[in-house]
Symmetry: C2
Subunit: 289 residues, 2 copies
């Protein structure tokens, strides 16, 4: 049973259920008209699917609560189109929702996926000696945000308005990795979270970071990359890289987990000071080195 | 695994999962300081648990996404206290959440419960001849809203700020009823939804409505009652009423489902015109007839 009743009714499930919730708010996560309503729908679902990807979970269903000052049918359709395309591509069904009035548009999604018992990638699984991989390219979303804020033309389909959740990579990675997390608040800050959860330190060679061409600050602390951080034991690293190549998934080996605490960033062998990522309750995220 | 990772990880589940999502927004569902933050936390969860109650589902877990301009630790604690007390009373665990900035406070909750296969109460199950029961008292929430809006003192714990989800009644009712729904937008309007979903009509004797002392308009169309509408086959009605009495659950027999369409309201045997309930995108809900 899908939308229309007081609840969706979903069949029993033999695997573990991974559940996440995330909202996008006008003026915080998107602005109009820089974002079309299709972009908003896409992004709202993408940030949730990225959390499922980080766990190595297969997306199954989502609920969607929309708050808006007023929404014409054509606008609601545009929102649904952006969401629907991404949902179909990931085999994920809308099972319930809610509409309410509000002063600004916001979309709150709760998404669920499944993973076999004990297979979900946690933040706490990294061990000293594991290699640190990152997917895709860092800093693009931040670069687009700056361009849009400056009123410059940004080609459609950029990572700021159309982030790409790494769902297939997450499913592949759970066969090789010991820990996973997605990069939403900035590479350095999120890596710090993973280290703390695992009780380890990490050393990163920033010269190997994919996307440093967008500026080191954007790559390290830009935020909204929705790429995956993965801790892979050295014995499985070559097989992991081969599997990624075959699947067409870009991953880069950028560092190593060690005993200790904190994140050490090295450039040309020299230690940089720690980077801050996006702080939810500060207007202008720190972006300098 | 609860909060702290990218997703909550929940054990496999042999029953059907009932899922609902609902948000409360400042200026729409609550105002401050008339509502304390404990009231807001309570109400945000209560409206979701009411949807689970309407299905006869046992609450299991919920996620909570908070959007706020700024939230002091003491304020976040107050919100959590209001939510936590109700969650504990209903055996429901917070498994994940999200914080984001926004201009006004809103709380979006997704809640899940379980019911044995095929046991969930749907809106579509009512049949001609079934008796219509309603729980508790109608119109109290609307009466409180009017009092608060007029700046009058309303004793704490009223149904506007502290709605009571009928979770235990829902679990009891699924043994007797054929259809269920909660009253959030007003008795007459929600009964209309139930009739449409079931392909039946309903006749209500408004003289038997619990809460008509709050004014007939408030009882019929006040909204936010969070009471249950239940369709019970006549052969099970006496046993249902006995079970409710034993459990201390107040229910009133207020009408009957018939073949046809629409909702007929009779007072002293005379037909009233149809009542409208709360319309989400209209500022001032119609409340008079």
């Amino acid at each position: 049973m899908g939308p229309g009743d007081d609840c969706a009714v979903l069949p029993p499930c033999r695997e573990e259920l991974c559940v996440t919730t995330d909202a996008v708010v006008e003026g915080v996560h998107f602005s109009r008209p820089a974002f079309s309503l299709e972009d908003v729908g896409h992004k709202a679902l993408a940030v949730n699917l990225s959390d499922l990807a980080a766990m190595g979970a297969r997306p199954l269903w989502f609920t969607c609560a929309v708050a808006a000052p007023a929404l014409a049918v054509s606008e609601a359709r545009a929102l649904a189109r952006g969401m629907g395309r991404l949902a179909r591509a990931n085999g994920c069904a809308l099972v319930g929702g809610n509409f309410t009035r509000a002063q600004v548009l916001s979309v709150c999604i709760t998404a669920a996926g499944v993973a076999p018992r004990g297979a979900a990638l946690l933040r706490s699984g990294a061990r000293p000696g594991d290699l640190l991989f990152v997917s895709g390219v860092l800093g693009e979303a931040r670069r687009s945000l700056d361009e849009l804020a400056a009123g410059r033309e940004v080609p459609k389909g950029d990572r700021q308005r159309r982030p790409v959740p790494r769902v297939e990579l997450g499913l592949l990675a759970r066969r090789f990795a010991r820990a996973g997390m997605d990069v939403s608040d900035g590479f350095a800050q999120d890596l710090g979270h993973l280290c703390r959860a695992s009780g380890v330190a990490a050393e990163v060679d920033v010269d190997t970071l994919p996307g440093k061409g967008h500026g080191l600050a954007a790559a390290l602390a830009g935020g909204e990359d929705y790429e995956l951080l993965l801790a892979v034991p050295p014995a499985r690293a070559a097989a992991f890289e081969r599997a990624c190549r075959r699947a067409g998934e870009r991953v880069s080996w950028v560092g190593r987990f060690t005993a200790g605490r904190g994140v050490k960033l090295r450039q040309h062998g020299r230690l940089l000071r720690a980077q801050r990522g996006h702080d939810h309750f500060v207007d202008h995220p720190a972006d300098g080195a």
